[in-house]
């Protein structure tokens, strides 16, 4: 068992495709939203849509943390990177996200000390090694990533690393899905649930989607067979009128939450009353910030962060893409003014963004090579 190759077998994919097609009633049309950007990437990289009948349409959701960050928060991060003695650290995806006055990469080129880290613990290590620097970690991510920031803040607190703080942009998965479903013209029949978020939250977190909104949810792994099997499980539910939370990714995800992760997150963070999302606007109780006890490690308490509100560029339609209203190629600047080399919107920046995934793999150039053939 390697936990990867076994889930890329093309013969099994054809069998799944046959079962999906056979399950869909003749006149049915199912719109399934894959919540997570990791799934969007898998779908394009492996050409999953070629295996689906015309009855099944995949809609890309708001689960890419780079894509949903509003421009104002990027502007605040750029502002932080320009403060005296500040070293701004972040995941690589964030470097090229355009702000009103350029990206962090532009700030770095202009002399700011911006460094890419693999883990927030690497940022803490920089702070310990360079006590003369004020190290800020630009934290983003859903429940998957929040525990790592919480552990890092706890370590900083316990070791008294005073020159370390976190610019916190951690968000939670259920409020944006409620926002998508509360929109007046929602056309989503079911959800492919985010596997790695669920490895922390457990499957039970999606029960409101099934019980209140009557949409089935199947928590899915990230290999191509995982996604196809999840589509089959959703289509079976829909065709038989069921509406449940099911777990396709049982090798990594349990029904209940990861108790250790939840405990450390609850110790360090509290909910913000409101947070702005790209494409969704202000969503109440949808994001986290460090508790007052850890204010010394909260960049928004340690610095006079301006709290910039910037409107997205007018040409950019990331908002519609994130709500599943537009396909990437339907955006008016897609592949013209907006490309991975010169992104206008966030969806073109991250490899998990729908636009970047579509741009890179839509010609099926690479999809054919990624399968294991027996």
């Amino acid at each position: 068992m390697r936990f990867v190759d076994e889930f890329r077998d093309s013969a099994k994919a054809r069998a799944l495709a046959g079962a999906i097609a056979a399950t869909c009633p003749p006149q049915s049309h199912y719109k399934l939203m894959e919540v997570c950007g990791g799934h969007t990437h898998t779908i394009y990289r492996h050409g999953i849509e070629r295996y689906l009948p015309a009855n099944v349409e995949l809609i890309h959701g708001p689960g890419c943390p780079v894509c949903v960050i509003p421009m104002g928060r990027v502007d605040d991060a750029v502002w932080l990177s320009k403060q005296e003695d500040v070293t701004l650290t972040c995941f690589g995806d964030l470097m090229r996200v355009p702000g009103r006055n350029g990206s962090l990469l532009d700030a770095s080129a202009a002399g700011a000390d911006v460094r890419v880290v693999y883990s927030p613990l690497d940022a803490l290590r920089i702070a310990e090694r360079e006590p003369g620097r004020r190290v800020v970690f630009f934290a983003i991510g859903f429940e998957t990533t929040t525990p790592s920031s919480a552990v890092t803040i706890l370590q900083a607190h316990q070791r008294g690393v005073r020159n370390f703080s976190v610019f916190c942009n951690h968000v939670t998965i259920i409020p944006p899905l409620r926002a998508v479903l509360d929109a007046p013209d929602v056309g989503i029949d079911g959800f492919i649930g985010p596997g790695h978020v669920s490895a922390v939250t457990g499957c039970e977190v999606y029960l409101p989607l099934a019980h209140e909104y009557h949409r089935p949810v199947v928590v899915s792994g990230f290999e191509p067979l995982d996604v196809l099997q999840s589509v089959l499980m959703l289509v079976r539910q829909l065709a038989s009128g069921r509406c449940e939370v099911e777990n396709q990714y049982s090798r990594a995800v349990t029904w209940t939450a990861n108790a250790r992760a939840r405990a450390v997150v609850e110790e360090v963070f509290e909910l913000r009353p409101v947070f702005e999302w790209r494409g969704l606007g202000e969503v109440p109780w949808s994001a986290l910030r460090p508790r007052a006890k850890y204010a010394a490690h909260d960049a928004e308490a340690a610095f006079a962060v301006p709290g910039t509100r910037s409107r997205d560029p007018r040409a950019c339609q990331c908002g519609e893409v994130l709500r599943g209203k537009l396909k990437p190629y339907q955006c008016r600047v897609f592949a013209k003014a907006c490309t991975p080399e010169h992104p206008i919107g966030t969806c073109m920046v991250s490899a998990e963004g729908a636009c970047a995934a579509y741009y890179n793999f839509s010609a099926d150039r690479k999809a054919a090579t990624s399968w294991q053939t027996a």
Partner: protein, 108 residues
């Protein structure tokens, strides 16, 4: 591992939400262990990894690694049962294809 920002002209794809299956090879402290990821050895933090049936993580376990943290244990029995299900489906499908190919009315 901290890197300076890449040059502006290079576009590097990174996947921040990725979780990578990794094999535990050595327990270092109660909150850290060494894992093998595709032949490379890396230290990961295990402080948010839940105990399975009261047992802490041990060499030979597979874990899901995300930004330097082991988030979840990968369960080989569950992986096996998912694959068994897929294999049986493949078998049914192949049998059906064979039956279709052997049928006199197929395509006629």
């Amino acid at each position: 591992m901290a890197l300076r920002a890449p040059a502006a002209t290079t576009v590097r794809w990174s996947m921040m939400c990725l979780g990578i299956p990794a094999l535990v090879v050595e327990i270092e402290t109660p909150t850290t262990c060494w894992v093998d990821v595709g032949g490379a050895r890396r230290k990961v933090n295990t402080s948010v990894l839940d105990d399975a049936a009261g047992r802490r993580v041990a060499p030979g376990d597979w874990v899901l690694v995300h930004v330097g943290f082991a988030l979840a244990r990968l369960d080989p029995d569950e992986a096996r049962s998912t694959l068994d299900m897929l294999e049986s489906m493949e078998a049914v499908y192949t049998t059906e294809l064979d039956a279709l190919a052997g049928s006199e009315s197929a395509g006629g």
